[in-house]
Symmetry: C2
Subunit: 355 residues, 2 copies
């Protein structure tokens, strides 16, 4: 066959051979196979009145109270798709739910678009969708719209999921990156680097066994309780890609403040420390998916810690530092010897495809 | 080097060699390179007060009038990224804007998440972002949140973009797939299959030159005018993937009606007809990206056609059929000889990666 003949041949509609176990290009055609996949997998698992309408757009009624809408979006390309403590489905829901929650808002709705590589097992897709459903239930959100596309084999990596979250910010709440003030205390809700370590382990890159599982979790319920009981929170942010170091530099720049954290106070699991020492990683830059940095007035710090520590996702919450100046836009790490190291944003890429 | 040594080597943070012309894995790290890319490309091009805040979530105020929110999401994986009449950027904006507009809603905001393959030229990314910006301006929407992830070379195909749209549906409007009624007229806003033909041509799959360009366009302004002047519209839907045939079957099922269309009335460009005849494609299943099917009471049909035909995206609008029965959930195509062919949803995949 000449190249041209071969080309034309590929363009003609192939006979339908249904592969019930694996995703075919036809599942992204928008035609019958797409409808079947949506009905037998996504709609079956995610079923709710808004999604089930089946129109081009999902219709939602908003709370009647005054407030603002909060919108956030994330693409998820984590490799591998399944890892100790989670999978891309739990990640896609929790990551976006957390971004909404960081603004002090209540996550309500999610959209999800799936880019699936031809040949991907339908069973894995169902497992991931079920994991999304469980995370949605935990967070109290529903998936109201979706889209499915299929790429040729070799043009993806199994599955990519993009999620967009919509939340409601009640009037009077103002929790943003620019609100840190001199004197504020800085809290981290738990240990650093668990997610990155779990991913490393799943990739077989450690060369030894570790028991660290990903911390991935929707934090909105814990944070809602915190906000209700400690009203005066200035900043919340989840230190995901780029880790705590990058997140603090972002906040220092947005608020134009100088942040000082104490190296000895940073909560890091022994196994994570070992991994970092062996591989030359810095836990300050390792990704977390179920942690939050909270910046609030010093006098509220103990109450906040008490509330967080009662919650399963905040048991190891601890104060790690202070906003020491209303200028400079920088982050200092005080070492056990008392010297200060300037923390910059993560340079380059420590570990790609982390979330 | 043994395999294990090689593995460990890859895990250690590589020295930063900045490639200013191409996307590096570090651009997806969430660290410094990500911030630089966002600031020098995305924020520079998409700048608006909501996006520029730079928090985890975008804050939006909603219209004070009564109504509902309409939300829609799409993943875009079109290949090639640039084609006659458009590119993935114009597609990502128009596709989502149109889904919102099909509900009779006014598109207001978009989110965009980018999955970029390592090595992708920054210049192409800027070209695509600029094209998105132009389409946003035409549609009257702004991009309020985004995300950037980078996959290793060979795990993507240049660029995938997922967009989510948020629109506002004023109270009293009810345009949905389940509203078609016996006696309604069916309009198509223009010629069929232009987008699919343009993609085919760009892939070099035609074996000859054609002058067909993609019809890709945001239709919301035209449809807003139509709704204001012809209030009683029952259904609007854009026949994208799966084409007019699949779209009509979807509507027939949702409304439980029998739809009859006239083959001789289907507007198809001569070049598209030729392509279909040569390659064995059926224009009924070819994708469109700037067309809309409108179903409305017969007595409103002429006025609607008049309004559409005045608009650049509706010049070739024509009535193509009628809802002939309030049951059966099927679509009939009346041929020039007077016989009726039952139209099913697209089976398999005619042309993958079309949108």
């Amino acid at each position: 066959m000449t190249e041209k003949e071969n080309n034309s041949f590929n363009l003609v509609c192939p006979p339908i051979i249904r592969d019930k176990k694996n995703i075919m290009l036809g599942h992204g055609s928008g035609g019958l196979l797409t409808h079947e996949l949506i009905n037998t997998t996504f709609k079956k698992i995610f079923t709710n009145p808004i999604l089930d309408e089946g129109n081009d757009g999902a219709l939602i009624n908003l709370p009647v109270k005054k407030g603002k809408l909060v919108v956030s979006t994330d693409a998820h390309i984590v490799s591998p798709l399944f890892y100790p403590g989670g999978d891309i489905g739990r990640l896609a829901v929790s990551g976006t739910v957390n971004d909404i929650a960081m603004m002090g808002a209540k996550p309500l709705y999610l959209t999800a678009s799936f880019i699936i590589e031809e040949g991907f097992p339908v069973e894995s897709l169902e497992k991931i969708a079920s994991s999304m459903k469980i995370a949605c239930e935990e967070a109290g959100v529903v998936i109201i719209a979706g889209d499915t596309k299929v790429t040729e084999k070799g043009k993806g990596d199994g599955l990519y999921i993009s999620t967009t979250g919509i939340g409601w910010l009640p009037e009077g709440r103002n929790i943003q990156g620019q609100n840190a003030l001199k004197g504020d205390a800085i809290i981290i809700s738990g240990t650093l680097g668990d997610h990155a370590t779990a991913i490393l382990q799943a990739r077989g890159g450690l060369g030894f066994q570790s028991n660290v599982t990903s911390d991935i979790a929707p934090l909105n319920k814990m944070l809602e309780e915190l906000i209700k009981q400690v009203q005066d929170i200035h900043v919340m942010r989840d230190p995901t890609r780029g880790g705590l170091g990058t997140t603090l530099v972002e906040i220092a720049k947005q608020s134009n403040v100088c942040i000082q954290i104490e190296e000895t106070n940073l909560p890091i699991k022994k196994e994570v420390k070992t991994v970092c020492e062996l591989l030359g990683f810095d836990p300050l830059y390792m990704a977390n998916e179920g942690k939050v940095v909270i910046i609030l007035p010093e006098e509220k710090c103990n109450k906040a810690l008490e509330i967080l520590q009662k919650h399963k996702y905040g048991q190891n919450a601890v104060r790690i530092g202070t906003v020491i100046d209303n200028k400079q836009s920088r982050v200092l790490l005080r070492t056990p010897l008392g010297s200060n190291r300037v923390i910059e944003m993560l340079m380059g890429e420590m570990l790609p495809r982390i979330c």
